[in-house]
Each structure stands twice: as structure tokens, then as C-alpha cells.
């Protein structure tokens, strides 16, 4: 459609309206300390991951200054193939050269941690996005159409919820090579049919019975128009919230699968722990002695997962007025 | 004989954005056997007035002053200064209340009769079960319900029957005054008519005083001896019902009177009061009706009009009260 604009362009007005509602919600959000903490942690990890390319450069300029020509071919800060021959034994404890030590294969832990961070984000957010897109559409359609459609998807959700996703993935990993993208797709897809559809359907049902839906219908809006223009925008905040929880569960699932070495990913937090475990450093007394092998990755998983979770809970109070204390 | 006298009652709700001045200097008296109506639009503070009198206020309510003198058996007490334990004695037995939308508050899992008995026992623990049952049966008879329905559950009642049960509950401790907050809103006209008639009959029979609260001036006109018109936390006019209708003096009262179409008589033009009811949150100074009032001048915007008795029993708060027969035009 050809769109002509008078006065202020429409997108500008829309942007301004959006900014305003954002501001109002931010005011509410700011009061939730835990959610703020979650947001802080997420931002921290985002920056942390983004800084990865800087890390070797930085270290080179500090510790390798004199030895530049000698070892220019070596990459001791590469998270996957790096091996530092200047350290007598691996795994080595934290030192100025390797702030978080090295792993049993002589690789720098901090670089592994940083390298993995954007991948964790990608995985979590991709999976959650898929979940939410599927869940929102199914939830909205089930509520709107009811009847057979509804019954089918609700029973399907029951089945998915009963189904052990992780076990399925473990079996699946024997047949196909699970890389990060495939994992995100599968995780997102499966949970998209799960409990989220039930929650969103319940929400959509409360929207469906409101008279503005009938107003749109009597204006001639088609089913799809009403679902996309009226129902989905009104449940979107809740979907967004569930996306946060989705990120948590995707990151966590990946960690578990990697821990068992079932995922074909070059590096991830789960794999870091897997490496420590497979080399026998997590058993008995070793676990305390070689803490740097598992603690950074473990703490990162826990922190990032809970950060998204807290953020979700904080948003929930904004999205769901019933939880709002006034 | 005067049974209730409210003097300059003030109660504000404290909110994040400031004080909501819901009850801001209300005064009136009520005689024994008299019925008073309070009319006003949604949010003007009608419910808040009754809740302040009964001291059933939410946490964020702040009592800002005033007196509620209640005369029981020749003794006058100020309900405002009573300790809570004493106050409890006056609620229900002295003044009882039919809450707004109370018919939806009947507990669906208990029998209606039992709910009334429980309310009675709460206020009179010495009552025996048999006496309580007998009393409930009498009350049911009084409000026009079949006593056999005592053992039914609320969902087996129609809206009108639920409202009757609520009235029976309010009567259960033989109060001297009943405050009925929108007792018939949401009921059909025929049911409303029956309930109002019933209440009027009971009131006359038991020589009770009543305070009716409603936004419907026609309902108030039918049941009240005198009428208070409330606007934005204040009474703007109070007089006996005929006076209020025949010679209203406050422009808002005038506007309200002419805003209702009627099924009888001439088909007259209706007035529209322009603008919106003002926000009770930090109201501006001056008369609160001024922004909507065609007679307002500078004084109205700067100086709060005093609530004065212009003739016996007729109170008005307006700088420019209407003359008898004066017509005002609210414009389009």
C-alpha cells in the first residue's frame, strides 16, 4: 500500500508511544530488586561475551610482550586448540597468565568461558523465541477456535509435558549430530507445544470474550486478523515473560546434554564441565583441589539461568496485574 | 429525635500520588425513623462516607477529623473516639450496612440461612441456635422470602432473592440505622421496585432510620424523606426531597434533576453537564464544581463556598445559589 504521511510521520508517533509505555513499565520494574539484579547479570554476561576478541590481544600485550616473534604462531588463548607450553603441568591453577587457570588439555579457562557466552545466549534466545512463537500462535488459536483444535493442542501439550525431553534428546543424539542450532530448534520446537500453550491459551481466553473482539468481528475482521491483531498483542507480554523462562530452560538443557557429551558443540559451559569430568577431575578429593575446572562454568550456568528467571519473575508482576501489590 | 449527627467528617485516602479527598467535610443529621438519600456520581465518595461512619476503612485511609454522634437510648457517644472493641458493639446493632454489590458476597458454599445465623452469633454469642433459627425465619418472612429457603445455597437464589437475604442479614441485630449502599443497582426494575417497597415497609414497621445511597435520583426520590447531593467528596446540597426537586439551589443539583429522561409527562430537553467529574486526587482550590458550572466566576475558582443553611433544613454550598424558577443553560 502506498502510504502518505501528514504532520508527524506515523512511525514517529508510534515510537514515541512505545517509548512512553516503556518508561512507565520501567518505573514499575525498577522496584523489583531481584529482577534488576537479573538484568544486571545478563548485561554483564553480554559484555563479557562481547569482549572475547579483546582478551588474547590484551594478554599478549601484557605477558607476551618480549616473546612476540618466538611464539607468534602459537595461540595459547584459543579456547579450543590453544595449548600453553610455558606452563609446566596442566591443569594449572589461576595465575596472572591464565586468570582462571587452564584445563587438563592446557587450554585457558577464561577464554573458554568468554567464547561460550555468546553461544549460550544464541542457543537460549533462539530456542525461547521458537517456543514463544509456536506457543503464542497455538495458544491464541486454541482459545479462539475452541472445539477440536483446542482439544487436540491441549492433549498434545499434556503429552509433551509428560514426555522427558532430555531423555528424548539423549536418544536423538545417537542418530543425528546435535549442533547448537539443531539443539535450539529441537528444544524450542518441543517446548513450544508444551505447557506454554496452556498458559497462553488461558490468557487468550480472557481476551477472546472481551467485547472489542466482537467489535472487530462485526467490522468484518477475519479469524486470522482477529488472532493476530487483537488476541496476540494482548497476550504478547505474557509470551515475552515465558520467553525468559524458556531461555533458562534451554541453557540448562544444553548444559546437561553437554555434560554427558551428547552435543556436537566446539565449546560451551557444559562442555567445560564435561572435560573436567571425563578427565577424572571431578571425583573425590579432586573436586575441591581443582575447583577452577568446574566452578567458573558452573557458576556461569547458575547465574545466567537464574538471571533470566528473576528477570522473568519481575516482568511477570508487571505483565500480570493480579500479582501487582498496590 | 435526632439519632445520628455527623459533623465536618473528613477522611482521605493516602496514595503514592497524594491524598484522595474522598470525604471532605460532610455534615448532616438524621432523625429517628427518618430516611435520607445520598445521590452522586460514581467515585464521588458515597461509599466512603458510610465506611467512615462505621469505621470500616482500608489501611490507606486516614481519618482527618470530624464527629459522628450516635444517640442510643438517650446516651450520646462519639463513634469516632470509641476504642475498636466498643465500636464493634455499635456496628450491626446500632448501625448496620447493606454493602454495595453485597449480593455477590454471599459465600457460595454455605447455606444462606446459616450465613445469617453466623452473622447473628458473631454479635450475640449468647443466642441459642434454636432462637437464632426462629429469628432468621422471622426475618425471611419480613423481607418477603419463603423461610423454607433458609437451607438453600446462594446459587439457588435469583439476584433479587439474594438482595433480600442481605437485607435480612442487615436486620438481624435489630439496628437503629441501616445504611443501604446501592441496594438495587444491577437489579431489574420490577425486582428493584419490590425490594424498595419491602425496605420502606420494614422501615416504617420497625421505625428505623435509613440512609440510602444511589446514583439514581429517581430511586432516591422514591424512598427518602430528605436528600443529600454529593459532588467530589462534599455535600453540595441537602434538603427535604420535595424542596430538592422543586427548588434546587445548587447548579449541580439542577443539572442532575434535568439530566434524567422520564417516562411520564412532557418529553423535555435534557441538560448535559459538560466536562468530567473532577479527580479527587489533590483537587484544585475553590468550588469543585466550578470547572463545569455555567455560573462560575473568579470567586468560585479561588474560594471554597461554605456549606450553609439557607432556610430551615436546606443546606447549600454555592456562591451563586439559584433563585426559585431560575433556568440555567449548561450549553452544548
Amino acid at each position: 500500500m502506498k502510504e502518505e504521511v501528514i504532520r508527524e510521520p506515523l512511525w514517529k508517533i508510534r515510537l514515541r508511544l512505545w517509548m512512553r509505555s516503556f518508561k512507565q513499565n520501567w518505573e514499575l520494574f525498577r522496584e523489583k530488586k531481584l529482577a534488576l539484579f537479573g538484568l544486571g547479570v545478563i548485561i554483564f554476561f553480554a559484555i563479557f561475551g562481547a569482549l572475547y576478541p579483546m582478551y588474547p590481544v590484551l594478554m599478549k600485550n601484557i605477558f607476551w610482550k618480549d616473546q612476540e616473534d618466538m611464539f607468534s604462531a602459537m595461540k595459547p588463548y584459543d579456547p579450543i586448540i590453544g595449548y600453553d607450553p610455558f606452563i609446566p603441568g596442566h591443569p594449572s591453577p589461576p595465575s596472572p597468565r591464565h586468570p582462571l587457570g587452564t584445563d587438563p588439555l592446557g587450554r585457558d579457562i577464561l577464554s573458554q568461558l568468554m567464547y561460550s557466552t555468546p553461544r549460550e545466549f544464541t542457543l537460549g534466545i533462539t530456542a525461547a523465541l521458537i517456543t514463544v512463537v509456536i506457543g503464542t500462535m497455538i495458544g491464541a488459536s486454541s482459545a479462539y477456535f475452541g472445539g477440536v483444535v483446542d482439544t487436540f493442542f491441549m492433549r498434545l501439550a499434556d503429552i509433551v509435558m509428560l514426555f522427558p525431553t532430555l531423555a528424548l534428546l539423549m536418544v536423538l543424539s545417537a542418530f543425528i549430530e546435535l549442533d547448537l542450532l539443531k539443539l535450539a530448534l529441537i528444544l524450542g520446537f518441543i517446548s513450544g507445544f508444551g505447557s506454554i500453550t496452556i498458559v497462553l491459551k488461558a490468557q487468550a481466553l480472557t481476551v477472546k470474550v472481551r467485547p472489542f473482539i466482537e467489535a472487530a468481528k462485526s467490522a468484518g475482521g477475519s479469524d486470522m486478523y482477529i488472532i493476530f491483531k487483537h488476541i496476540i498483542p494482548n497476550i504478547l507480554p505474557l509470551s515475552f515473560l515465558y520467553m525468559m523462562f524458556g531461555v533458562t530452560s534451554a541453557i540448562f538443557s544444553e548444559a546437561v546434554l553437554s555434560f554427558f557429551g551428547l552435543v556436537n558443540v566446539r565449546m560451551s559451559w557444559g562442555i567445560m564441565i564435561h572435560t573436567a569430568e571425563s578427565q577424572g577431575y571431578l571425583g573425590g578429593e579432586f573436586i575441591g583441589k581443582f575447583w577452577w575446572l568446574w566452578l567458573p562454568a558452573g557458576a556461569s550456568i547458575t547465574l545466567l539461568c537464574s538471571a533470566f528467571y528473576f528477570l522473568g519473575r519481575g516482568l511477570e508482576e508487571i505483565v500480570n496485574p493480579r500479582l501487582r501489590k498496590r | 429525635m435526632e439519632i445520628l449527627s455527623v459533623k465536618d467528617l473528613k477522611m482521605y485516602y493516602k496514595t503514592k500520588l497524594g491524598y484522595v479527598k474522598a470525604v471532605d467535610g460532610i455534615s448532616f443529621t438524621l432523625d429517628e425513623g427518618e430516611s435520607m438519600g445520598i445521590v452522586g456520581e460514581s467515585g464521588c465518595g458515597k461509599t466512603s462516607v458510610s465506611m467512615t461512619i462505621l469505621r470500616l476503612l482500608p489501611e490507606n485511609a486516614e481519618f482527618m477529623g470530624g464527629k459522628v454522634l450516635f444517640n442510643l437510648d438517650g446516651k450520646t457517644v462519639d463513634l469516632v473516639s470509641l476504642p475498636e472493641s466498643e465500636m464493634r458493639r455499635y456496628r450491626w446493632k446500632g448501625i448496620s450496612m447493606i454493602f454495595q454489590a453485597a449480593m455477590n458476597s454471599l459465600n457460595p458454599v454455605y447455606k444462606v440461612g446459616d450465613q445469617i445465623i453466623e452473622a447473628m452469633l458473631n454479635h450475640n454469642p449468647k443466642l441459642s441456635m434454636d432462637d437464632a433459627k426462629k429469628k432468621v425465619a422471622e426475618l425471611f418472612e419480613l423481607v418477603g422470602l419463603d423461610p423454607r429457603r433458609m437451607d438453600q445455597y446462594p446459587h439457588q437464589y435469583s439476584g433479587g432473592m439474594k438482595q433480600r437475604a442481605i437485607i435480612a442479614m442487615a436486620l438481624s441485630c435489630d439496628p437503629k440505622i441501616i445504611i443501604a449502599d446501592e441496594p438495587t443497582t444491577a437489579l431489574d426494575v420490577i425486582v428493584q421496585d419490590k425490594i424498595l417497597r419491602e425496605m420502606k415497609k420494614i422501615q416504617e414497621k420497625l421505625n428505623m432510620s435509613m440512609i440510602y445511597i444511589s446514583h439514581d435520583i429517581a430511586v432516591i426520590a422514591e424512598v427518602s424523606d430528605k436528600i443529600a447531593v454529593m459532588y467530589a467528596g462534599k455535600f453540595v446540597e441537602l434538603a427535604d426531597s420535595i424542596t430538592i426537586f422543586k427548588k434546587p439551589m445548587h447548579p449541580y443539583t439542577y443539572g442532575l434533576m434535568h439530566a434524567f429522561p422520564s417516562v411520564t409527562g412532557e418529553r423535555k430537553e435534557l441538560t448535559t453537564i459538560p466536562g468530567e467529574p473532577i479527580n479527587l486526587l489533590n483537587p484544585p482550590k475553590g468550588c469543585r464544581f466550578a470547572p463545569r458550572c455555567p455560573k462560575a466566576d473568579e470567586r468560585c475558582f479561588s474560594e471554597d463556598p461554605e456549606y450553609v443553611e439557607v432556610e430551615k433544613g436546606h443546606f447549600v454550598a454555592c456562591h451563586h445559589p439559584l433563585e426559585v424558577g431560575e433556568v440555567i443553560n449548561f450549553g452544548e
Binding site: 501528514i6 | 426494575v189 428493584q192 426520590a221 439530566a259 418529553r267 448535559t272
Partner: protein, 385 residues
Amino acid sequence: MGNEKTILKIEGLRKLFPAERRLFRKVRKFVHAVDGVSYEIREGESLALVGESGCGKTTTGKILVGLYEPTDGTVVMDGRDVTPFLFESYGKAENYIRRVYIDKFKNGGNGNHIGNFEEYKKIFKDKFNGNEREFVKYILKDRKKEMKNLRKKVQMIFQDPYESLNPRMTIFDTISEPLNIHNIGNLKEREEMVAELLDAVGLTPPETFMFRFPHELSGGQRQRVAIARALILKPRFIVADEPTSMLDVSIRTGIMKLMLKLADEYNMSYLYITHDLAVARYMSNRIAVMYLGKIVEMGDIEEVLKNPAHPYSKALLDAVPVPDPEVKREEPNISGSVAKPINPPARCRFYDRCPYRMERCKKDPHPQLREIAPEHHVACYLFEK
């Protein structure tokens, strides 16, 4: 008035809702929400539909705007039967055509209340040589488009201004939504149309309202927005479902006056649904009193209010409180209260509460509407010899 053009004519409209839920078995209990309602609305006229809660007023209105499918009956708009387009599924529309047209073409029968009955009969005989399937196909060939056209002509205003606007859409988006759906105009034209309407409904200056959200408006302002939305397609006919009952008294009259003014300006007709007889009198020229799915009395509003004939109308009128403390009303002569019309017995719907009921009322079916005076119809055996 009297012989102006009829815009809308409804014949024997029925709507049953299942009153029980049964899996795999036929539902046997139905709420007879609307049970054989007929009336017509003339150009520029407003018909008030009054009655107690649950008597089927809203249902009648919703059928007209295509929100419910009729169980039975015919809706004729501008002389043309539009009922087949009100059905969502082809099959139901086909059933309707078979029942109302084809069966009558074949077995003889009267369809004169439908303006295009004879025309269809001719098409059926001449063009399709009695080929039923082809005939049905022919009538329903543009049914989606027809429905859209119909929706342009008939719009509805809902009772609750707080719920009838999408909280996530700006006022501009809400009002221009029908334009969007029907693909009318470009953005600039839409803006102009919306601004013009906002002006017309008294939300001035329009620029200050266009990009607000509903929660930033008062109840009265929202209802004005709802009215503007209903008007934007320039409908011929508006179903107004208690548009003022949720509003404050001082604002109510403003909306009522606005609606009268707009009816005049845009030459629209109303079906004005209300439970308040006084409002009905202010807004309408004619009135239909409904009781449990049936119209029991209908006619010129002043005539009906002055000389109510049906026992129910009388009681209803007697029960209206009068805003005059000097008037003492009679007690309405009626007992009991409204019940839900679940599989009601065939006799007069009002029988159980009627103070004048006779032996005949018990045995005979529900009485037909009969003209007892010019422009005054009543359905009651008291008026039949």
C-alpha cells in the same frame, strides 16, 4: 412517519443456545434466547428494544451484526434476503436456502415477506431448471463478499466502554480498524476521516485524542470513540446495546444527544437496546417490549407508554421509579421473577407471572402479535375475541 422505506425487516428470528454440554449425544435442553421475533425498522427511525435482563435483547442485536448465527428466521435488508450470508459454513447456508426457498418452490408455500422471493423463484425455474445444487451455488457464490458488504451497512455499539476498546490500540487504530479491514483509503485519507469523526463525536481537537490509548480516556470519551468506530463505515443501521448504562449520569445525556444528532446527520436507523423505559422514550420513536425471547408489545412509543396493553408492559411501566417525590406510583401487578427460558412450555411465556391469566392462556400456544390500535401491536389473549 409511517410509510418511509423499510431498511431492515426481521421475520420469525430464533436463536437457541444449548443449555447443557453433552459429549457424543444430542443436546436436548436449549435456552430459547430469541424465539420468533419479527419487526421492521424504517429509514431514519429508532426502535427501542426493552425488557428485563436475559430476555434476549443482546442476542437479537448480535444476530443482526453477524456475531451469532440465527437458528431460524429471515433477515431482510433493503428488500433483499441476507440471511444466507449470516452463516459461517456453506452447509448451514445451503440448509437455509433449501428450507426457505427450494422446499417452497417445489411444494408451494408463501414467501411474500421476502422481497426477492419471486425473483429467486424465477431464477430457480428458468435459469437453473430446478437444479437445486446449482441454484444454491449461484446464491452463495459471493457470500464472503456479501457478508462484508452487510457488515458495512450494520454496525454495533457495545454496552461496556471499558471493555469494547482494545487496550493496546491507539484511538486512531481503533477507529480506523474497519477501514483497514475493508481496505478503504490510504493512510492520509484515513487520518482525515478519523479526525472528522472525532470532531463529530465531540472529541476535539482530534489531534490530541488520536494517539492516546483507551486507558487515558474517561468512560464517556471511550463511548464516544466506540460510536466513532461504528460510524466510520457510514452504516445505514446501528445496533446500540445499552450504550449509556455504564456511564455516569451527567455524561449519559451527552452521549444520548450525540447519538440522536448523528442519526439525523448521517440518516441512520437504530435498534436501541435498553432496559430503561425513560431512555427508550428519549431515544426512539417506536418500542418493542420483549419477554423471554418474545416480543409481547410493539408500537409507537408514546402510544405504548401511555396505554400499555400487555400485562407485562404495564407492570414494567409501573415499576419505573419516578424522579418526583410527590408522585406515588401504583404497585406493579406481577409476581415472581424472570426465569431462564430453557425449553419453555408452548403456552404464553408470561403465563407464570401474569395476574390476568385465563384458562385459554394455559392451553393455547403463545399468542400472536395483533394490532389493537394503529401502530400498536400486542401479543396477549386478553385482546383476542
